[in-house]
C-alpha cells in the first residue's frame, strides 16, 4: 500500500499534474457555481480537454473538476441561496441564513474546512478499503459481475425519491437500449443503425452525456429563466473561525464524514443523500441549544452536509475503482472517460494500471488541499462570475457542449443527433424524469451484455449461473430485494386504504 501511495505521489507531484489539479478545481468551482450546471455537466465539458493527456493526468484533472463542482455548488448555496448542485441543497439550509446575518466569510470558511476534513477522512478510508476490496473482487466471475451491475442499476432507482422509482427504472432501461445501437462486437453485426454509417460505432458516451446534461441544462436555463432579482453577492472579509466555532463543528464533521463515506460507497446513493442524512443525523445528535439554531444559521448544520457530501464523493470512487461499476451519474461519466482513454476499469485496474489507480486517490487529496488553500481566498473573485449575464453565458455553454462532441468525430451528423437527444432530454426533465439513470444504464450496457454473454455461454444457455455459486446467490437475493421492495411499497399502502382495519 505504501508503495502505491508513493507511486501516486510521484505521479501527481509533477508540475504538469499539479497544474491540472489546480485547473480542474478552478474550472469545476466555476461551473459548479452556476445554478443548473452540476458536476456531470462540468466533467462532460472538460473531457474533450483531457483527450490529449495520458489516463492518469486525465483522471487527475477530472477528479479536480468533480471536487471543484461540489465546492462551487456550496458557494452559490451559501452566497445566493441557489445551490448549483443537488448535493449542496442541504448546505443552503444553514449556510444562507449565516450569510444573511453578515457571516458569509465565516460560512464559506466552515464549508471549506468541513469539506476538506470530510475529503481527508474519506481519502484515508479509501486508501485502506480500495486495495483489499479490489483483491476480493478478483474472485468475481462474469455471472457475479452481471448481477452486480444489475444491483447497481437497481440501487440507483431504489434510492431515487418516493414516486420516482418506476421513472428511474424506465430511464435505466432506455439507457441500456441506447447502448445497443451500433456494431455488436461479438458477432460484428449492426444493430439499430438503420443503415446509417454514422451510427456504426454507436452513440458516443460523451455525446449522450453532453446532450442529456450540459446542453439540456443550458436549454432549461432558457426555458425557465431565473427571475431577475438583482443577485447581490454579500460583502465579507473575515474568514476566521474562533476556538468556540471549531469545537462546535468538530464532532459533527467527524460523524458526517464517516457517514458520508459509507453512503458514497453504496451504488446509487451519492452526495445528495449523504448530505441530507448527515444534516438530519446532526440535528438529532447536537446539544439542545445548537439544535435550536438549525435552519437559522447553525455552524454544525452547515458543517455536517458539507463534510458528508465531500466524503461521499470520495466514497463513490470505491465501487468505480475496485469493481469498475459506477454508483452514480458522476462516476458513470468518469468511467466513460476511463474507457475512452483505453483503460479497462475493474478489479484489475490497480494491477494493470496502478499509476491511474493511485494517482486518482492521491490527487483527490491534493484536490481537497488546493480547494482549501487556493479557492477559499479566491472565492470573492470567482463569485463575481455569478454575475455574468445569462445572455452571454448560455450560448457559450451550448457552443462548448457542441464543440466537445464535434472535435472528437468531426462529423456534423453528431451535432444533429446531439440536438435531438437534448430535446428529448429537456422534455423528459420537464416531465420530471431523471437523466442520471439513463447515463448510467448507457455506460454499463456494453459491460452488462459482455458479462451476460460470457456467463450464458459458459452455462450452455441456461440461467443456472444465477444460482451456481454462493456468492452469486447472495447477490441475486439482494438484487431481487432491492428491485421488489419499492414495488411492494407502492402496492401495499393502497391495500391499506381499501381495507381500513
Amino acid at each position: 500500500m505504501i508503495d502505491g501511495i508513493l507511486l501516486g505521489l510521484t505521479t501527481v507531484l509533477t508540475l504538469h499534474n499539479l497544474a491540472l489539479v489546480l485547473a480542474g478545481c478552478a474550472a469545476g468551482t466555476f461551473i459548479g457555481m452556476l445554478p443548473g450546471l452540476g458536476p456531470i455537466s462540468a466533467i462532460a465539458l472538460m473531457i474533450p480537454v483531457t483527450y490529449g493527456f495520458n489516463p492518469a493526468s486525465g483522471m487527475i484533472l477530472l477528479a479536480g473538476v468533480y471536487y471543484g463542482a461540489i465546492f462551487g455548488g456550496s458557494t452559490s448555496s451559501i452566497l445566493i441561496n441557489a445551490p448549483g448542485v443537488a448535493g449542496t441543497v442541504a448546505t443552503a439550509f444553514d449556510g444562507y441564513p449565516l450569510s444573511q446575518q453578515g457571516k458569509a466569510g465565516k460560512a464559506l470558511a466552515v464549508a471549506a474546512y468541513a469539506s476538506f476534513a470530510g475529503g481527508t477522512i474519506a481519502a484515508i478510508f479509501l486508501v485502506l478499503a480500495a486495495p483489499s476490496l479490489a483483491e476480493l473482487s478478483l474472485s468475481f466471475q462474469s455471472a457475479d459481475y452481471f448481477v452486480l451491475m444489475l444491483l447497481g442499476l437497481a440501487l440507483v432507482a431504489a434510492f431515487s425519491s418516493k414516486g420516482d422509482y418506476l421513472k428511474a427504472i424506465l430511464m435505466t432501461i432506455v439507457g441500456l437500449m441506447l447502448s445497443t445501437v451500433g456494431t455488436d462486437l461479438s458477432a460484428g453485426v449492426q444493430r439499430f443503425t438503420f443503415g446509417r454509417m454514422d451510427l456504426i460505432d454507436g452513440i458516443s458516451f460523451l455525446l449522450l452525456a453532453m446532450a442529456t446534461f450540459a446542453l439540456a441544462e443550458a436549454f432549461m436555463m432558457v426555458l425557465k429563466p431565473v427571475p431577475n432579482t438583482k443577485t447581490q453577492i454579500p460583502q465579507y472579509k473575515d474568514l476566521a473561525l474562533t476556538r468556540d466555532d471549531v469545537s462546535r463543528i468538530v464532532p459533527s464533521v467527524g460523524r458526517s464524514s464517516v457517514l458520508g463515506f459509507f453512503i458514497g460507497t453504496l451504488p446509487g446513493a451519492g452526495a445528495t443523500i449523504a448530505s441530507f442524512l448527515a444534516y438530519g443525523m446532526e440535528r438529532n445528535l447536537v446539544k439542545p441549544e445548537e439544535q435550536k439554531q438549525f435552519g437559522k444559521g447553525s455552524l454544525a448544520g452547515l458543517a455536517a452536509p458539507e463534510a458528508a457530501n465531500n466524503a461521499a464523493c470520495t466514497g463513490s470512487f470505491v465501487p468505480l475503482l475496485t469493481l469498475g461499476i459506477p454508483g452514480s451519474g458522476t462516476t458513470a461519466i468518469l468511467l466513460g472517460a476511463l474507457i475512452a482513454y483505453g483503460v479497462q476499469p475493474g478489479p484489475r485496474l490497480f494491477i494493470d494500471a496502478p499509476e491511474v489507480f493511485w494517482s486518482v486517490i492521491v490527487s483527490m487529496y491534493f484536490g481537497n488541499l488546493i480547494l482549501l488553500i487556493l479557492n477559499l481566498p479566491l472565492i470573492p473573485q470567482i463569485a463575481r462570475l455569478l454575475l455574468l449575464p445569462r445572455p452571454l453565458l448560455v450560448p457559450l455553454i451550448m457552443f462548448f457542449s457542441v464543440m466537445g462532441v464535434y472535435l472528437v468525430s468531426f462529423n456534423s451528423f453528431d451535432i444533429q443527433l446531439m440536438l435531438a437527444i437534448a430535446v428529448a432530454a429537456v422534455i423528459l426533465r420537464l416531465m420530471t424524469f431523471p437523466m442520471a439513470p439513463l447515463l448510467l444504464g448507457f455506460i454499463l450496457g456494453g459491460m452488462l451484455e459482455d458479462n451476460l454473454r460470457r456467463a450464458m455461454t459458459l452455462s450452455d444457455g441456461s440461467w443456472s449461473f444465477l444460482w451456481d455459486r454462493p456468492l452469486t446467490i447472495v447477490l441475486v437475493v439482494i438484487t431481487i430485494l432491492v428491485i421488489s421492495s419499492p414495488l411492494l411499497r407502492m402496492l401495499v399502502p393502497q391495500k391499506q386504504l381499501r381495507e381500513p382495519a
Binding site: 448560455v394 416531465m431 455461454t457
Partner: protein, 165 residues
C-alpha cells in the same frame, strides 16, 4: 373515475410504443448460422430490454398515479429556446461549408442576440474573441479546424495557398 393524462402516462405510453418498435427492429438484426445456434447472440439483450421496457412503461400507464400540473408548460420561454435549437442545427449543417471561424462567430453573435443582449460592441467582441481564441488554442494543440470548403475553393480560385491545410 376518468383516467387522467399525466406525465407518467404520456411518457409511459410513448416508451411502450417505442419498445414495440425496438422489439420489431431487433427481430431484423442479421444473424449467421452460428449466431442462431448460440445461446446468447446479438438479438438476446435487445429482446430482454425491449420486453423490460414494455413492462415498465405499461406499469407507468396502468398504475394509479397523481395528477400533473401542466400549467408550468404554458409559462416556458419557448421562442428563444427554439431559435437557439435552430441556430445550433444550422451550425451543424454549415460548419463544414463555411468553416469553424465564420460559423462559430455567427452562432455566438446570434445566440447573444436571441437571449436579449443588445450592446453591439459586446456581441462582436465576445463572439469574434471566443472563435478566434478557440481556433488559436486548437491550432496550438495541433487540432486542425478547416476554414471551410467555401473559403478553400475561394482561396484556390484566387491562387492563394492556405497555410493551415
Amino acid at each position: 373515475m376518468k383516467p387522467v393524462i399525466n406525465n407518467l402516462r404520456l411518457v409511459g405510453g410513448f416508451f411502450f410504443i417505442l419498445s414495440l418498435a425496438y422489439l420489431y427492429t431487433a427481430q431484423g438484426i442479421p444473424l449467421d448460422y452460428w449466431g442462431e445456434q448460440e445461446p446468447f447472440n446479438a438479438r438476446s439483450l435487445p429482446y430482454l430490454l425491449g420486453v423490460g421496457c414494455a413492462i415498465v412503461s405499461l406499469l407507468l400507464v396502468v398504475l394509479p398515479s397523481p395528477g400533473f400540473d401542466w400549467s408550468e408548460f404554458r409559462q416556458l420561454n419557448y421562442l428563444p429556446a427554439i431559435l437557439l435549437l435552430a441556430l445550433l442545427s444550422l451550425y451543424g449543417l454549415v460548419i463544414n461549408l463555411v468553416g469553424f471561424f465564420v460559423a462559430t462567430t455567427v452562432l455566438l453573435a446570434a445566440g447573444f442576440l436571441v437571449l436579449g443582449e443588445q450592446r453591439p460592441w459586446r456581441i462582436a467582441l465576445i463572439s469574434v474573441g471566443v472563435s478566434a481564441s478557440f481556433w488559436l488554442i486548437m491550432d496550438l494543440l495541433g487540432i486542425y479546424l478547416s476554414p471551410g470548403e467555401l473559403f478553400l475553393e475561394l482561396f484556390q480560385e484566387l491562387g492563394l495557398n492556405w497555410a493551415g491545410s
